[in-house]
């Protein structure tokens, strides 16, 4: 499978990355080079093979159902949560207007 300019533009839109026309033109052959190379995986007979879900056998743990069990990720940390926000206002994350 190969991609054209239109497909790359659509992927970039899905990935929320703005790309210029010139960047698109440059990316198409690069991505096609990589995609053509990974095509070789199609040669592998995977009949009856399960896709890997856990690289090391492990079970997902459940923690005790306790409110604020880990104080580090519990509530009451608004200022720390906002400390690195580029536009924190009045104790909230600031974003551009989204409703007309």
């Amino acid at each position: 499978m190969s991609v054209d300019t239109e497909t790359v533009a659509r992927i970039a839109a899905l990935a929320r990355i703005k790309v210029s026309e010139a960047e698109l033109e440059a990316m198409v052959p690069e991505l096609n080079g990589i995609l053509a190379w990974v095509e070789q995986l199609g040669e592998v007979d995977v009949t009856g093979v399960e896709p890997m879900t856990a690289v090391i056998p492990n079970t997902l743990r459940l923690r005790d159902d306790v409110i604020d069990a880990d104080p580090l990720t519990a509530g009451g940390r608004r200022d720390e949560v906002l400390a690195n926000a580029p536009a924190a206002e009045h104790g909230f994350f600031g974003v551009p207007k989204v409703i007309e």
Binding site: I17, G42, V44, N84, P86
Partner: protein
């Protein structure tokens, strides 16, 4: 009497020297701070923290004066790859989008190291978001390998990647050890390129909590140092169960340092025939043969093994890793932390797209786009599911191999360090440099690189030991046997 400079000492020698009062932790910190300050041209550090190193060293000395236990890394100054969140110290992942990010928390691995008595010299440069094999994708500029070819040309060489700041700093004696992370070879390949030692433990040994995520099913932290013993000491300090990481291994951390033994009697060393590729670099092939001979002399039995899906490891990796990266890096949205680019009159969606365009470098964008494409509707099964099935087969290859051997010996990388700029025109040629490193990553296995000797250009080559899951001890012991046989003592001549 030969006076050894403090900065030539490793982790164990510094720890033991500080504990015995041969020198103070402050003297150690000052010596390394001076080397860091004098090596700006290597660009190994993004942020140096000399005052913090001194303060921590002072408290180590105060503890010693009071007779307190200094810990297994007491007074040892280290470099921290700038992928680990460090409270109040910029954590950028070498990206523009996280430039200026000051974590409000400390990563589990770095906290474990501080708890063991280690001291931080600063944050080390890397490939942006750990995506690269040459440290050329950093927003903060290339790291220069302290090694040079013996041709007198003085070409600036790559330190490997992604842990290129770590490898350059340890090789240049800016720190006795540094943290690295390995997603597809990012500890082992840079270690090989700079003549140092590095180990990636079994997936889950070191907590991923507080490490900037790249590909979560592959990312694993590990130490980079100048010998096997130092790696054992530091890995022991870094590892441990962490309830904050859902894939953390709930197992006791073995005493790897105490268990070290170079005796290979009764051990079977597998040599994978698929790794001997057509057109292999003659010096790399020679050093591999030499490694086989060394382990044989150390008492090991050499076994021919087959890892039939080796060829497919890299293409599988370049589907799985970008897919996970595209998901992980969705968090950089210009809202919660990091860069925001808000063009005049832009709405929320435009802000996301402008922020991510300005904040990510070319390689990061390339991988996000590949990942987005292979996960998109209609292509998911053909690419991602197929790659995860191939990953299962690669894992089974290793499982079968470990029925007839205890550890596997292979080269770490197909070449010695290449020149900066030599590989950047074609992303694929760069990816191929991780051909020997990626299979163990896909299978989550412990693997280490040990310096084996110099090639015809006077550059270090590494040998790789891959072990069965949870068998870091077997890997370290085989590494120690190689280290003792190789007697590698070369170091880069100081030109910086």
């Amino acid at each position: 009497m030969i006076v050894t400079e403090i900065t030539d000492l490793g982790v164990k020698a510094i720890r033991d020297g500080v504990a015995a009062g041969e020198f103070s932790a402050v003297e150690v910190a000052e010596a390394f701070n001076a080397n860091v300050a004098a090596a700006a041209v290597l660009n190994a550090f993004i942020v140096a923290t000399p005052e913090a190193a001194l303060d921590a060293a002072k408290s180590t000395d105060a503890k010693r004066a009071k007779g307190e236990d200094l810990g297994t890394m007491g007074g040892v100054p280290i470099g921290m790859k700038d992928l680990f969140a460090t409270r109040g110290v910029q954590t950028s992942a070498a990206s523009h989008i996280l430039e200026g990010f000051l974590p409000e928390y400390e990563s589990t691995v770095s906290q474990n190291l501080w708890n063991a008595g280690a001291v931080m010299l600063g944050k080390l440069n890397l490939d942006q978001f750990a995506m690269g094999s040459s440290n050329e994708t950093s927003y903060f500029g290339n790291v220069v390998n302290p090694w040079r070819r013996n041709d007198g040309g003085n070409a600036a060489l790559a330190p490997g990647g992604s842990s290129g700041g770590s490898s350059a700093a340890v090789a240049a004696r800016l720190c006795p050890a540094a943290t690295g992370t390995d997603t597809g070879g990012s500890i082992r390949q840079p270690a090989a390129f700079t003549g140092i030692t590095g180990i990636k433990p079994t997936y889950g040994r070191c907590s991923r909590w507080g490490i900037v995520a790249f590909a979560s099913s592959l990312d694993q932290a590990g130490p980079m140092a100048r010998d096997v013993t130092d790696c054992a000491i530091m890995l022991e300090a870094m590892a441990g169960f962490d309830p904050k990481d859902s894939t953390s291994l709930d197992m006791p951390v073995p005493h790897w340092e105490a268990g070290l033994s170079p005796d290979m009697k009764g051990k079977r060393v597998g040599v994978p025939r698929e790794y001997r590729m057509d057109g292999m670099d003659a010096d790399v092939a020679k050093s591999w043969d030499q490694g086989i001979e060394w382990l044989k002399q150390a008492g090991a039995e050499i076994v021919d093994i087959s890892l039939p899906h080796t060829k497919y490891a890299l293409p599988a990796y370049y589907i799985v890793a970008p897919a996970e990266a595209s998901s992980n890096l969705a968090r950089y949205d210009g809202v919660r932390y990091g860069l925001r680019d808000l063009p005049d009159g832009a709405g929320l969606q435009d802000m996301y797209a402008a922020t991510r365009a300005a904040g990510f470098g070319a390689e990061v964008k390339r991988r996000i786009l590949i990942g987005t494409y292979v996960l998109s509707a209609g292509f998911y099964d053909a690419y991602y599911t197929q790659a995860q099935k191939v990953r299962t087969l690669i894992s089974l290859d290793f499982r079968n191999a470990f029925e007839s051997c205890d550890v596997i010996l292979a080269p770490t990388a197909p070449t010695a360090a290449f020149a900066l700029g030599e590989m950047t025109s074609d992303p694929l040629s760069m990816y191929l440099n991780d051909v020997f490193a990626v299979p163990a990553s896909l299978a989550g296995l412990p693997a280490m690189s040990v310096p084996a000797g110099l090639n015809r250009e006077g550059l270090p080559l590494g040998l790789q030991i891959i072990g069965n899951m949870f068998d870091e001890q077997g890997v370290l012991n085989a590494g120690l046997a190689l280290e003792q046989a190789a007697g590698f003592s070369a170091k880069p001549e100081r030109w910086w």
